[in-house]
Symmetry: C2
Subunit: 562 residues, 2 copies
């Protein structure tokens, strides 16, 4: 390994090796030297309007491409990243955060340098709570291995890592020979053998086995392995909300999204009637479990994730997710006849009166017509998420949404990362008006880099999920003329749709126009909602009651395996 690579150059080399070809962020004086190196490297810098926009973009980039990176200045930049990086942590998206910092030398007398909050270490301490590994490269002798350590942890756990680089360390070169780290993931072969044996016998004895597929299948590159296994054994697959699109929704073995009582009844019935549920890479979160309306008997489950492996009521240690999956593929599991699955919902919405107001259901139906293999759906939260669960993504459409952490404002900046990670895919962005007012002006970045998403603003003048829980004037947002965004940015096309007919025409024009972005202001009734949203809101509404908490003992026991 060359000894003549500076600390900054080494960091860029490591990123490029990991297919990180874009770094999102905003410069500042403490990080300008690194930006200068970045400009000379083969990696493209993508300048966003805000740091949190860069964070969401890097998160989406990581979800599509396997790793993402964001680069900002000290505190005034980095502290704007805490929310998107916390989201990436919660949903296991491997993002490398790079932050400039005051020079090591200039700290000697502990001066009050600008952007400093309390201690020089304050920003790193904050990121220690929301990253899986963190370092400040304050010594060139350890910097290279520290970079290796953070990269290793980020790859292993698929969570963000934090690398702080004081401006006077960027160009430092270590005089020593660099020894790369050699880190392997260990498998306890006896534990693997034992749990595999149990899993195989449960699967072989089961009358109606089913796979519940979660997002980690995507994070750990196991999507093809899932499909191959399901097809060989003819076991049907349901997805969690967060796992939506880990498998093509057009696949004959695909059941639908399972989310307890919140989802389609026939999917719930099929999954809950199963005598062997193989849960692969799913987080058992409240929203994934239909706010605890899911009812799975742990005695009938095999639960496999990167963090836990349980069969029925007991757990195994030191069996990595990938090792288990590899062993499962080779195991003697009997092939069954193709299962008899509940029918898919028909594409049954009757032709709407073009003069009728737009409903959420009608809107998703209309959107569905435009999805192709080259569409990536990037969804914000609220009814963009709940409504889109019924979106019949018949083709191999990608679907990206922060379905567990559920931070508003993900979708527009997320679409930038998604499209740069896979330029072949055109984003369809679903975003509420409240969320658009948070980060929607990142369409400026879309314009700057000549991307071409179609953006639907679900305009119902407020925070609709909250309206369903407890309404009040605090849920209202100021009305914007979203179709005027192109006039502000000097690019793009804007549409207003107040009727079903206008929506159809707007979408047709928006999808036909591929030069740059389109934005459609979709007027909705403030109290219209998807059935899933209605059921969710009823559960959450209990939170605002004067009574003690609504979740009864035993309710959770039925739902969280092991």
């Amino acid at each position: 390994m060359s000894n003549h690579v500076s600390v900054g150059q080494y960091l860029l080399q490591r990123l490029y090796e990991k297919q990180v070809h874009h770094i999102f962020g905003i410069p500042g004086d403490y990080v300008l030297g690194f930006y200068d190196l970045l400009e000379q490297s083969p990696i493209q810098h993508v300048g966003t309007c805000r740091e949190d926009g860069a964070g969401f973009a890097a998160d989406a980039y990581a979800r599509v491409k396997g790793m993402g990176a964001v680069c900002v200045t000290y505190c005034v930049g980095g502290l704007n990243l805490t929310n998107p990086i916390a989201g990436a942590y919660a949903e296991k998206s491997p993002v490398i955060v790079i932050s400039g910092a005051p020079g090591v030398k200039e700290r000697e007398r502990n001066p009050l340098l600008h952007h400093r909050v309390r201690e020089f270490s304050t920003q790193q301490e904050i990121f220690s709570h929301i990253t899986v590994a963190h370092t400040a490269l304050e010594d060139p002798l350890t910097a290279y291995r520290e970079i290796d350590r953070v990269f290793d942890a980020v790859e292993r756990y698929k969570r963000p890592g934090y690398i702080e680089i004081p401006w006077d360390m960027v160009d430092r070169v270590t005089p020593h020979r660099r020894v790369p780290m050699d880190i392997a993931e260990l498998t306890d072969m006896c534990a693997l053998e034992e749990c595999l044996e149990e899993a195989v016998s449960m699967l072989n004895e089961a009358e109606q086995p089913v796979i519940l597929a979660g997002i980690e299948l995507h994070r750990f590159g196991l999507q093809d392995a899932l499909v191959q296994f399901a097809e060989e054994k003819n076991i049907p697959v349901a997805a969690t909300i967060l796992g939506k699109s880990v498998m093509s929704e057009a696949h004959p073995l695909y059941l639908g999204v399972y989310e307890g009582a919140m989802g389609r009844a026939e999917v719930q019935e099929y999954v809950e009637a199963s005598d062997c549920v193989l849960i692969l890479g799913a987080f058992m979160t409240d929203i994934n479990l239909g706010v605890y309306t899911a009812s799975l008997d742990p005695g009938s489950t095999i639960y496999v994730t990167s963090e836990r492996l349980s069969v029925k009521h007991h757990s195994f240690h030191d069996v990595p997710f990938r090792s288990f999956m590899a062993a499962l593929e080779r195991a003697s599991i009997r092939r069954r006849p193709h299962p008899d699955l509940p029918p898919r919902p028909e594409d049954s919405l009757e032709e709407q009166n073009p003069n009728a107001p737009i409903t959420i259901k009608g809107m998703f139906h209309e959107v569905d017509r435009h999805l192709t293999e080259d569409t990536i759906v990037v969804s914000d939260v609220g009814d963009c998420l709940f409504g889109s669960l019924d979106l019949r993504i018949h083709r191999k459409t990608e679907y990206v949404c922060p379905a567990y952490y559920t931070s508003m404002g993900f979708a527009v900046p997320g679409s930038i990362g998604a499209q740069l990670a896979e330029p072949r895919q055109r984003p369809l962005v679903l975003v509420g008006d409240g969320a658009f007012q948070m980060t929607g002006l990142e369409l400026s970045t879309v314009a700057k880099y000549e991307l071409n998403p179609v953006v639907l603003v679900l305009n119902n003048r407020g925070y609709s999920t909250e309206r369903q829980i407890l309404d009040g004037p605090f849920n209202d947002v100021h009305g914007w003329e979203y179709s005027q965004v192109p006039a502000l940015l000097g690019q793009g096309r804007g549409f207003v749709a107040k009727t079903a007919g206008e929506l159809r025409e707007s979408l047709a024009s928006a999808f036909a126009y591929t030069d740059t972005f389109s934005i459609v202001d979709v007027h909705l009734d403030p109290y219209d909602r998807s059935p899933a949203m209605e059921r969710l809101a009823k559960r959450l509404a209990a939170r605002t009651n004067k009574e003690p908490p609504p979740i009864e003992a035993g309710e959770e026991t039925r739902t969280v395996p092991a």
Copy 2:
């Protein structure tokens, strides 16, 4: 004290007592119960587009009114506040952060509830780094005193405090009699007497004493005390950058802003020639000290802040800022004849050719004509800050700017807090294009609450401070048509000014129009800058050199007292 007030009601009562009549924020399901209480209280909720906008607004509100508050939901809301609250911490602005949280009861089985990052305590741990006191109200028996404790610390140290309230605690009432906390600030009278004696003798023996006034005079309500003391003794006053406007700039004893070699030479010469500099409530930060070009001999200084009291090279403990100031007022300090001060810069800019391009100098000259006693200047960073230091605020104009922490994006949301805190004052907002793209769409909130700032966007297509340090394509921002913002928001008036004549006309129209906001798109040459910015940039540019750090030993010793 009533025993029948719930935890949530008590928190609102405490805020109202402290003159907090507005709370900024965005609701979310974990905090809706508290929002419901807020709606029933005499305090007005102000809904912003983004949480960081709410944070900046609360910070500015606190700077004008003495305390501010922001209320958000758990993690997805709270973590968007870290940057503005870090800024409030760094610049001593007393903001109470209120966050909802998952219910205490529902945490028992450690479930993955939505918005959770790692531990239930993760958000509180993050805020522990950027607040002076923090609490999670998880027990009704301690909740009331915990609220008292946080309020006390916030008032005492003028820094932000964090209060997390799980949704199931909002309506809880303690069955016990509540005992209010009784906390007094202690003064070591012997230490006070000793340091006062030394200070008095230094002042009385001095030939040319001068006061260097900092922002804490404002934070601790000592502005009138300063003016009275200066007038009684006829001692002239210079202000630090952060302290600009603690004293009327029209006062005959006011010298100007002192910032080492970065400011006006005659102010620097006068202050540095003094044989007794009484530094009151100033933070000795890099920018306050002209990036260490200030040259003050500690042997000639008396340095008094809420954190440190030093005379020459020794320090005193347990002498609060206010105690020292009260004692100083009563001390026997001789009255001198009115000092002979260097002349103020003349209002000397020759009449500009109306067809000439706009210069930064010319712009500030033009702005100056419109300032009245009822204007509050809210400035963002970069040349909004450096250029405005020469703004001849002849009348008693307030000036608010994050001059130490220097986070971009403060000004537009800050103007909301400033105007709601003092509705008599009309904000003049100075903001760069890069900063406007971060938070400028909070003009939506301005429109919603019918405020009427005049907003000048310094449009030079990039991050100008960085351009001066190290230029590259990463400093470019996408061009917006800022005058189109009113079309997007359905309110306000937009102007474009490309020449001196257009600027004059736009400003006249903008100031004449008082119904709602005006926005002026001021086209500037990307490489035009104020002289102060040029000097600053040269110092910071050394940071990107390949050489070891540029700050030489000894340079700091000359500048940081004690």
